[in-house]
């Protein structure tokens, strides 16, 4: 049976792992603030999660790319852009974009909510699986930013004044915010609580 620092009446530093007595406020090795468990941690997770979800709605409704050529003017949303890539472009690249801008964000909302809920309802998932799920969420979340960078590159590259221009749509900003907020939600989650009884 493993003993946690908390069980032993001590506080472990989440930055550097050194162990302190419970009355110490700052880690003496790395200077990070110490807390055995943050009582408001879960509330912060939900707040960032909700903020991320709210800005994810306009990110999907409004256009990501505004393309203007001599003859036509078109707007593409996130889903529209992926569909277009599947039709005209490389299927592999389409899969990357599909994964980064649809599967990862949606999966991340579900996974973070599920982790937060399963802290209360222990029977949903065992600790090893929760731990692995959190590791995946933490690792994969930042990759959603790909779509924002693609828009930035296209908009800076395709600038042939009257002939063809690509401009970023407002969805790029809300999508970037959504990625940042859900990254914050994942970082506010204290994985140590997965193992507490």
């Amino acid at each position: 049976m493993t003993v946690s620092a908390r069980d032993a009446g001590l506080v472990g530093c989440v930055r550097c792992g050194s162990v302190h007595r419970p009355d110490v406020a700052l880690c003496s090795r790395c200077g990070a603030a110490l807390s055995s468990r943050d009582p408001n941690g879960l509330q912060q997770v939900w707040a960032w999660w909700l903020a991320g979800l709210l800005v994810y709605i306009p990110a999907n409704l409004y256009p990501m790319l505004l393309t203007r050529t001599l003859t036509q003017h078109s707007e593409a949303t996130i889903v529209g852009g992926v569909a277009e890539l599947f039709q005209h472009g490389d299927a592999g690249i389409a899969l990357i974009v599909f994964g980064a801008s649809i599967v990862i964000p949606v999966g991340k909302f579900i996974a973070i909510a599920f982790l937060a809920v399963s802290l209360e309802k222990r029977h949903l998932m065992n600790e090893q699986a929760q731990h692995r799920l959190f590791a995946v969420v933490e690792f994969v979340g930042r990759w959603s930013m790909i779509d924002v960078f693609v828009v930035a590159i296209l908009a800076s590259l395709v600038k042939f004044d009257a002939v063809a221009t690509i401009n970023p749509g407002i969805a790029a900003a809300s999508f970037a915010l959504s990625v940042a907020f859900t990254m914050q939600a994942a970082q506010s989650f204290d994985p140590r609580t997965i193992w507490d009884d």
């Binding site: 050194s18 731990h131 693609v150 800076s156």
Partner: protein, 222 residues
């Protein structure tokens, strides 16, 4: 790694204990030789994995990255030509793509994610390791610098930007010819160097080297 029975804790000085940063499992720090690693017995996270000459290597790779980053920012990045028309964009242009109207903050954020934060992390790591490489004690603010570098890690997105470039190239491939410039190759090299640098980076090894100020057994500062 030895699991600790609760009753034996009293005898172990705090300096020899480590709590897994991911699951809080308490361990007594074992002696780990170079190229060996110790993992948390509960969640499997790596607790320590020291590498020989790690500081020199990380410092050299960080310096390399910084030079590549400078090249990537200032040299031509991509060159687009379609039916006689030409346009070239630098990395800075890509960051400034959102600089019209309400999206200015996004420009700032993109510049931060792909250039400023990665460069800042490199500088912080070099500041932390430079004295150690030269065989001197760490600078006074080394712990602060290294902690900030660690905290900024998820927000350093240069490698994601490179994949973004690949996707963008496919998207415009039908419309125009894109020629990658020197900055493009510098950015690709930067990603490889960063991966290599991360493979030498063992936080516990660095904290042990910086931490003159290790918690004393009674938990108070020395």
């Amino acid at each position: 790694m030895l699991p600790l029975a609760a009753q034996s804790l009293i005898t172990v000085p705090l300096t020899e204990l480590r709590a897994c940063p991911h699951c809080d499992a308490l361990h007594r720090m074992p002696q780990v030789n170079m190229r060996e690693r110790a993992v948390c017995e509960r969640c499997g996270s790596v607790l320590i994995a020291p590498r020989a000459d790690a500081f020199t290597r990380i410092f050299a790779l960080a310096a390399t990255s910084l030079i590549l980053m400078t090249a990537a920012v200032f040299m031509p990045f991509l060159d687009l030509s379609a039916s006689g028309l030409h346009n070239r964009a630098s990395v800075l242009d890509a960051a400034l793509a959102f600089s019209e109207g309400a999206m200015v903050p996004l420009s700032v954020a993109v510049a931060a994610l792909i250039v400023v934060i990665p460069a800042l992390r490199l500088l912080l790591i070099m500041y932390t390791l430079a004295p150690l490489v030269a065989g001197r004690p760490a600078l006074a603010r080394a712990a602060q610098a290294f902690r900030l570098a660690d905290r900024l890690k998820p927000w350093s997105m240069a490698e994601i930007f490179v994949i973004g470039v690949a996707v963008a190239l496919v998207k415009v491939a039908g419309l125009a010819t894109v020629t990658p410039g020197p900055a493009f190759w510098a950015f690709c090299a930067l990603v490889l160097v960063t991966v290599l640098q991360d493979s030498f980076m063992d936080k516990e090894q660095i904290w042990q080297a910086i931490g003159a100020d290790v918690p004393s057994p009674d938990g108070s500062r020395p």
